[in-house]
Symmetry: C2
Subunit: 130 residues, 2 copies
């Protein structure tokens, strides 16, 4: 491999603050890329869901973690919570406009992961370091 | 908000295994979207870096977490590690072809986060639930 000492232009990311530790983007990154955050967003990108549907769709999530994840994403203006005064009570969760914008950027990544996961896990299993 | 009972076609994601708990995609999702995983990938998408550069660029990462993150991404075939028999010893890290494919899908997401983080954190601060 060639050792390059060339200095490439610094991307927007380095100046706009994904990397600096003190920036809000770190907080949002944590919310959005948390294990359950990603899975909830992928599920709601599919369609609006009730609590119980989300709980079943996001396999393995506990009630506590689902509640916490939804609360965080709702506070971030990414998920919309709609409670109906019905009997039995019903609560629907959906993406806001901001959430849909985010999902548009998230789904190509999760699609790629789904397509490549088998090959990647195979690589790790074959590696002496894994 | 209208309550929709329409059944939309199930996306590839639901069948290809981002959501099922037992699938390799969950493992890869954890590696790639871990806090330090994302930041290391964003840094290396910019350019090849030595250990010390990575340590400074990914602000706040400990030596232990950086080593662990790099080891995981190397085992996944996403990061390439090149050690030079020089004095002093030198180790370069770069993205593999697979890593560049991944970065192409990750950067639109992290760009969006950088662009929207201030507004999102403002939303959360204004919310009674935060």
């Amino acid at each position: 491999m060639e050792v390059s000492s060339e200095v490439r232009p610094v991307s927007r990311l380095f100046t706009a603050g994904v990397l600096p530790a003190a920036c809000p983007s770190r907080t949002v990154l944590d919310h959005v890329t948390s294990r359950w955050g990603v899975l909830v967003l992928v599920a709601l990108a599919e369609r609006e869901m009730r609590w119980g549907e989300l709980r079943r769709t996001v396999e393995g999530v506990s009630e506590k973690m689902l509640a916490q994840t939804l609360r965080t994403l709702e506070a971030d203006g990414i998920v919309h919570r709609e409670a109906w005064a019905s009997i039995p009570p019903r609560v629907d969760y959906s993406l806001t406009d901001r959430g849909r914008e985010l999902a548009q950027r998230l789904l190509p990544l999760t699609d790629w992961i789904a397509d490549n996961a088998d090959a990647i896990v195979g690589t790790a299993a074959a590696s002496p370091e894994s």
